[in-house]
Symmetry: C2
Subunit: 479 residues, 2 copies
């Protein structure tokens, strides 16, 4: 047991130093590691498998709404990136530039995509002619590069994996509807698969995307009380269409500009899973997204019949559709338990000689570590029940945590007190003046996270300047 | 019907100009288009969906053999790329270089990965310490950049999509076994999913991968008689391990170098599908890889009940697990037929008022265009039968084509005559001297494709120089 303890002891307790705990979990659960190039990460098998499951399930949701996947070039000429002024201004400081291809220096330098708005615009300008060609609802899964000075696994790095959807529509209404539709897909996905509740809302102009008319966001709350922007959906109006000349003839043969949207989520979602659900024993993965849902640990596996029975159970569970692993390595059971907990496997099944005699197994949920004895004949039904309940409980706990970490502030004193003493979101009215956002950020480091949908006002004065205000804002410190 | 004819007439007949036919199919079937950056392609929805299906099915085959997916950085420092001399020599002329990140020029220039051997070596040198850490069997799906002067959709471009597997093993035997295992996975995949038979064999030293001890290949034959290298698997021995310092301690506590392999296939496979199966009406997709397997075309769709019945059939087929599309657009049925053929949809179902009256539908296979009347109550069974038969027939036809396009040459005169007059592979003995390969290439443009497994010799003299020879080589013009 000494060894097992050591395994766990290598993680800093979450309450002691959240940032160090996060780094420890990423490392010990073998999710990711730094490469020899600063800011560039290596997604290891478990980290990448989580991303694959996110992709698979979200992509199915996309396709149900009519999304088609494409793949656009990695590089774009500088002149193409520069066509939309606000957009290039937003991204230029972060772009990696290619200046030589093969043995020849290039005549024009090329940007590695920091995002692909400009490439999609270029494509749409060539393939959209008539209203019959609309809408175009394309998406791609790829990596993008944005040169970052400070990096943190999954949350901020110079290269990251994401999806970026880019659409073109005949009307402003249709574009707005698609923007909201995709935000809702993100919100539903987070709740259903990741067991993470979200706050949906609109970004202030200060926080919106470079070149967008409106940016909508899902904001999630980490266990340390900091917010994580977890997905965004942008309505571009016809701004890009005008810059890139994307026009179509409508039914009356009139030439019109298209209206565009874009929307994306990234591997930040893996950061959210870690920071919402993880505990002092490591990762806790929601069953619906876990690459391995069940681990079987044989106890006294050298005894006759134990490994055979464990393998029989593994096959039975696999046949029933679970992703299951039998850990028949030479480590001690305690070590295997600790390792499986570190890697967040939702359900552990123990089986030893005594269990076999009694025709039972032990099932232990990862989230609450509750042990139950289950007759072998009920193996698959009970595994399914426990995993479903675990998924449900994880969401319920995350919802409770979120709801108990939202506080209202009516005055600036209350606001500053909340930022200092009550981790989480702070609801406060805002007059609409960017100066108040700036002041709040300077005084407290909190930023406006979003103006929520469907919420009443809680006051009629700006929480910062006291002037009349009718916009409710969720504020918070954020990653 | 005039319109429908026009739709098809835009393709050059395959027999008239194969290269132009290929380009026309790629364009008219909307598989891909050029971006505004020379050499960089846009994978459109149909082209990308075929790649997604290749990925999905091949990835499942990989995982059955124990492969784990990871994601490695897009960029690597020049010093890292340069550690293995032969390797860097092979790739340096094709590398795209990043010299600026954000607003700062970089101190060391960075290569966009042309392949990721060096990154995996760097990783393995940090995570492999003991024999217990072996084997490592990692793979990634990504894009790579190799600056090309001439480009051709799917076959050659400056950026392309692929997978690259990289493994590290304790022994030379295990590495060799993995190299051959993955080549067999590729061969099986091509036969089973793409209905494309392959020739398996080993590359000569002249044609092997930069830095490899041995390169194995699957070679396929296109309809114009040219060969396409469709997948390769390399055994690196311990060469990279020595250059990058990848060592482990064995069971006897001895420090040893690992033995490595790498293996890859790319979107070239899509080129192979087009050029093996396509015809003068466009693409012909094998049912197991087709993004849409069945298209339903309503006839006289304005008549009451036709669209409703068509939709009912669509749902029935979808429920049975087929990927099915109902084309209820306002185009004429003839136009829809031509479009569905162009896009290679394996099975077309027509249903009109008379069919509804007779409770039947018309089913038309894409490959042979045979029409059958099918009672509606047998809809799903017959669709399945027809698709299975089509998949089988496509493979059988491709096999016949391959076998009837292999000729033997015993003298150099016979060889030159075969290259000039008999499209396909030429089997000829080789003495092992690179000078003969060079001469053959210069005289005929044919190259050594591979030294096949499990084949007898057909002569005892080199087909080029006449000296003693005991190696049989498949020669051919190639893409």
């Amino acid at each position: 047991m000494a060894k097992d303890k050591k395994f766990v002891e290598e993680i800093t307790p979450r309450s002691e130093d959240f940032a160090q705990w996060y780094t420890d979990v990423v490392k010990k659960a073998e999710l990711m590691q730094y490469s020899s190039l600063k800011g560039f990460m290596i997604y290891k098998p478990l980290g990448y498998a989580i991303w694959e499951n996110i992709q698979k399930n979200m992509d199915a949701m996309f396709k149900e709404t009519g999304v088609e996947n494409v793949y656009m070039p990695l590089l774009m000429p500088e002149s193409l990136l520069k066509k939309e002024a606000e957009h290039v201004e937003g991204f230029a400081p972060e772009v990696a530039w290619v200046t030589q291809g093969g043995i020849q220096p290039l005549q024009e330098r090329l940007a590695i995509r920091p995002t692909s708005e400009t490439l999609f615009c270029d494509l749409y300008s060539t393939i959209v002619q008539s209203y019959r060609d609309l809408p175009k609802v394309y998406n791609q899964w790829c990596s993008v590069v944005r040169w970052e000075k400070t990096t943190r696994p999954f949350l901020r790095s110079s290269e990251f994996l994401w999806q970026e959807g880019h659409t073109a529509h005949a009307t402003a209404e249709e574009a707005e509807a698609r923007t909201i539709q995709m935000l809702n897909v993100y919100a539903d996905f987070c709740e259903k698969y990741l067991a993470i509740p979200v706050i949906k809302g609109r970004k202030t102009d200060k926080e919106k995307f470079a070149g967008a008319e409106a940016t909508y966001t899902i904001e999630t709350l980490m266990h340390d009380g900091k917010a994580l922007q977890s997905g965004t959906s942008h309505n571009f109006g016809d701004g890009f269409a005008r810059a890139y000349g994307i026009q179509y003839t409508d039914k009356n043969n009139q030439l019109r500009y298209v209206h565009q949207t874009s929307w994306g989520v990234s591997t930040r979602l893996i950061g959210a899973i870690i920071m919402v659900h993880g505990d002092d024993s490591g990762l806790v993965l929601p069953p619906r997204i876990a690459p391995v849902q069940i681990v079987i640990v044989p106890v006294m596996q050298q005894k006759e019949g134990v490994l055979e029975k464990a393998e029989e159970l593994r096959q039975q569970l696999q046949k029933a559709g679970f992703s299951v692993k039998l850990d028949d390595s030479e480590k001690s059971p305690g070590w295997k338990f600790a390792e499986a907990e570190m890697r967040g496997i939702p359900l552990r099944i123990e089986v030893g000689p005594k269990d076999i005699e009694k025709e039972q197994v032990v099932m232990v949920r990862r989230d609450n570590r509750k042990k139950v004895f289950v007759p072998m004949r009920e193996l698959t039904e009970r595994a399914e029940q426990l995993l479903e309940q675990e998924q449900e409980d994880m969401l319920a706990r995350a919802k409770d945590f979120l709801n108990s970490h939202i506080s209202d502030a009516h005055t600036y004193e209350e606001f500053k007190d909340a930022v200092a003493n009550r981790p989480g979101f702070i609801r406060g009215m805002w007059c609409g003046d960017e100066a108040c956002e700036d002041r709040i950020k300077e005084d407290t480091t909190a930023t406006s996270r979003c103006m929520p949908f469907d919420e009443d006002t809680i006051d009629d004065k700006c929480v910062c300047c006291g002037k009349p205000a009718h916009r409710l804002v969720y504020w918070g410190k954020a990653y």
